[in-house]
Symmetry: C2
Subunit: 247 residues, 2 copies
Amino acid sequence: MIDSIRERRTIRKYTSEDISQELLNSLLKESFRASTMGGMQLYSVIVTREAEMKERLAPTHFNQPMVKNAPVVLTFCADFRRFSEWCNLREATPGYDNFLSFMNAATDALLVAQTFCTLAEDAGLGICYLGTTIYNSDKIIDILKLPELVFPITTITVGYPAEMPDQVDRLPFESLIHNETYKDYTSSDIDSIYEYKESLDENKKFVEDNAKSTLAQVFTEVRYTKDANEAISKNLMESLRKQGFIK
Amino acid sequence: MIDSIRERRTIRKYTSEDISQELLNSLLKESFRASTMGGMQLYSVIVTREAEMKERLAPTHFNQPMVKNAPVVLTFCADFRRFSEWCNLREATPGYDNFLSFMNAATDALLVAQTFCTLAEDAGLGICYLGTTIYNSDKIIDILKLPELVFPITTITVGYPAEMPDQVDRLPFESLIHNETYKDYTSSDIDSIYEYKESLDENKKFVEDNAKSTLAQVFTEVRYTKDANEAISKNLMESLRKQGFIK
């Protein structure tokens, strides 16, 4: 068993210690052993170390402080450009300006990102995923100068941990597994699946602080609202069109 | 460093040894420590062990022999259903029937899938990703009885290795990394990036066997053609609509 996975927690505060180029490159290089669609390696990683670039990226991640405080910020991109350029130079007509190809490249990028995180944590670093990458993809595309057929999928901040938060809760194991076919949840299943999460003091405080009556309302009315999700979905589709992945 | 990542290779042939329920559950449970959007755990795993179910799934994966030969087949699904049902039962109106929510849940599913693979390989098992999952999503949805807001993202076959293939090649490390901003590739960059891959005997044989003049043509004219990609993209969008993730 890999203890660093069992013991992991997301780290949002980092010491001022830099990550050496040697260590970063060795972790990235090993992460590229992850499985990849047809051996095509449909990803690129943009490494942000310069303070000015972090300053520019920060608002696109809703000013989460990790962006400016982490020594290294990595943006993992779906990339069908390199492969398509190769095709163009080899009397082959690439056909990767479509949604399936986007999903294939996004999958490649995420498998590499997660492998990098596992390796980084095992080496004593701490990481935090920024799901905001696809929320403001248009702005990130501009800042990182991503050309057509390249799309930012996720961002990781990484550094030496300056905190050791408690491990966060997980839903009961059995509720995430289905044998042979999907077994739909009854109301009483849902009650017991979420019972522990709802009972936690931190979550009760979360409900109170937001003046809501249930924890679910904090998600639907504060954190991930229908209006925001729909507006961002539209923006995301528009970005995919602009980058050439949807007609 | 985690040697099992550095030394990894995809395994397509498995011994007849079964994977114990205890080992499988312990690997899955640890994989659920992977990062997840807002702590929501937007995924479900469908475990296939029954021969009859493998038989039915096989054609959806273009009859790749691993599906029937592996002791365990795992389909990792994006799942906003469980969470939305919880909202419905807690006076909260879920707003997750949209494309952004699909991408968030797909990301969660892929981070868990990759963490599972790392753990499984470290425990001496071999895995193979089946990218075909999103190619025939509609049929897989039927077979696994996936309800609305659940979508199959990727499939992994897993078992004890009955082969030890050579490690496959990777593109030069530097060609996958961009410092600060994306540096577009020149023709001579592309030539040197793909030089090694094109020089391999197995790839030269691949070109010859397919009666093509370049390796790129094997990809664009045989393996991943424009026509197929476009037809599958349409089918995938249609499936997303049917499962409630696109209006």
